[in-house]
Symmetry: C2
Subunit: 122 residues, 2 copies
DNA sequence: AAATTAAATATGACAAAGCATATCAGACCA
DNA sequence: TGGTCTGATATGCTTTGTCATATTTAATTT
């Protein structure tokens, strides 16, 4: 069996986030090249990120996220569900504006914290 | 005139986030080495990140943030202030638990989008 | 319908930076 | 003085990120 001694972190962005990025780009009618030039990256780079071939640096992802009118926030775990529902609310059918965006945020789904030991108390 | 043709992203993590990371680590009484072994990184790496010498990849930062009982969320810009105050609330003196944590989240403060045209109208 | 043209995305090779291993300098204590 | 524990530094390997090119897809013309 391919028993990875070391999980090597993710290997790619969470799929949910990749879809969110691509969705937000397409929603604006921007091509990869258009987005790339706006944010100061290259089209190749965008392609690699969206297709999951590379995990961008934090600052790179931040640029991308911001150009797409979002932000990356460091949220205490206890607040994550609240924020999530806030986000879900925000793109409810009411707001026709954002109606097209799918569930967008970095969900935990792709990370296996199964082997994680529930760390000590705060 | 030092007219940067290309801003080269950040160059380091926002100082606020670096302080938050280091603060959260120290709050737990962990050394860089201890944190490193817990999260599967190296002490060298942690040092470089906290001191601002390197900008970690997204997945690396995510591991760090999660071990410190936080998460990285992709939030629509319109909701950022709300979430921020939520976070501020959460670590208000009321909660003696988190009383020690400083302002922790990725604030925009350290990014100079001054040269960037703020045209983000959808 | 086939061919041609153009645009959007994906693929390859090189340079830059993250990340790992080993080591070092300082602080603290026995 | 030695020993241990802390964070920082030096050297290589791996991956990101850039430049140039190929492949796919769609629209237009004949």
């Amino acid at each position: 069996m391919t028993k990875h001694i070391r999980p090597l972190r993710l290997g790619a962005l969470p799929e949910g986030m990749r879809r969110a990025l691509r969705g937000a780009r397409e929603k604006r009618g921007w091509t990869q090249r258009e987005l790339a030039s706006r944010v100061g990256l290259t089209q190749t780079h965008i392609s690699g990120i969206e297709s999951g071939k590379i995990v961008p640096r934090y600052d790179t992802l931040l640029e991308l996220v911001r150009i797409l009118d979002h932000d990356l926030l460091m949220v205490p775990r206890a607040l994550v569900p609240v924020v999530q529902s806030l986000i879900r609310d925000h793109m409810q059918p009411d707001h026709k504006d954002d109606g097209e965006e799918r569930a967008l945020y970095a969900d935990d789904a792709d990370n296996e914290e199964s082997s994680e030991e529930p760390r000590d108390e705060v």
